[in-house]
Symmetry: C2
């Protein structure tokens, strides 16, 4: 799918602010894809579509999670997680994207998972550091991303867990598994 | 088993420092058992024996984990975790303690787990706050333990995870599950 067609589709699903975020993620994902020898076209499309389901009603997302038999843990955890797997489903069925690499990058862009593909890492990290992001540590994350994708991913997932725990919020098991995976193997 | 006989058995397994810690945990566990209507005798014995395997050689512990088919994840995580399940096994087979409540309190005193029993919680928290412990936050944990066992447990498990993550160490899955369990259900 051409970039402009993809942007046209996704623009209808997003607020202006979220569309701007999507453009930032796309630019960053292409940049990281170049550095880490990831397919740039796949990175571009995964980034454009990563938040496709962000503004779907919770009821609709819940129904899709149940009907499509997604990880039933999702329903017990933060609904903020739902738009990622639901997005992968809707991008396939509504936007006609069938590439499984792109779909899994969308599916895991919020929770992460053990043994992420390089494309999944690029989208996860791009979402964390795109130019519109502003939080303590984002500059360090940006620097790490230029040097070592796994270090940047580790930084992002660790800080995400610490952020959630400092608010006494639950942490999705896939996210913990990613953290442990990076501690033990990849770094 | 009588207290003195139990202490005599365990004294042979521990350094003086660790024996003193054990006495502190025992005193604290009995105190908490009284507050939270937990069997005091079981709390006493679980506390006395909780660190029974603390100084066993890693090779011996590893062999027991493999032969007894304990959670194979253990071998991929911090060996500091091993003395708890191995201790439960040795306390049963060497010291002749057969009470399953006591053994599970020993088994989970380091990692914790989802859906802990009250006795397991008492031992976990007593181990964290016994009078010999000295770390930032221990006084707050002690105050919480007088008022609400689940709050004290949550405080302990959350700080344990944060401590490990700040050192970029892995966190055993049972410990994360306990954290999420307490966030979602018990508090």
């Amino acid at each position: 799918m051409e970039r402009n067609r993809a942007l046209e589709i996704v623009a209808k699903q997003l607020t202006d602010k979220r569309y701007k975020h999507t453009l930032g993620v796309t630019e960053t994902a292409i940049h990281l894809a170049k550095i880490y020898n990831v397919d740039e076209k796949k990175a571009e499309l995964a980034a454009i579509f990563h938040d496709y389901a962000k503004f779907r009603p919770l009821d609709e997302m819940k129904q899709i999670i149940i009907e499509q038999k997604f990880d039933s843990n999702l329903l017990e955890f933060n609904p903020e997680l739902w738009h990622a797997p639901v997005g992968a489903y809707l991008v396939e069925h509504e936007a006609g994207i069938s590439d499984s690499d792109i779909l899994s990058a969308i599916r895991y862009h919020t929770s992460g998972r053990e043994k992420m593909t390089s494309l999944e890492k690029v989208i996860y990290v791009a979402d964390y550091i795109e130019p519109g992001r502003s939080f303590p540590g984002v500059d360090e994350a940006r620097k790490l991303a230029e040097k070592d994708l796994n270090e940047a991913l580790f930084f992002a997932v660790k800080n995400t867990i610490l952020f959630l725990m400092n608010k006494n919020q639950s942490v999705f098991p896939d996210t913990f598994r990613l953290y442990n995976d990076l501690v033990k193997k990849e770094r």
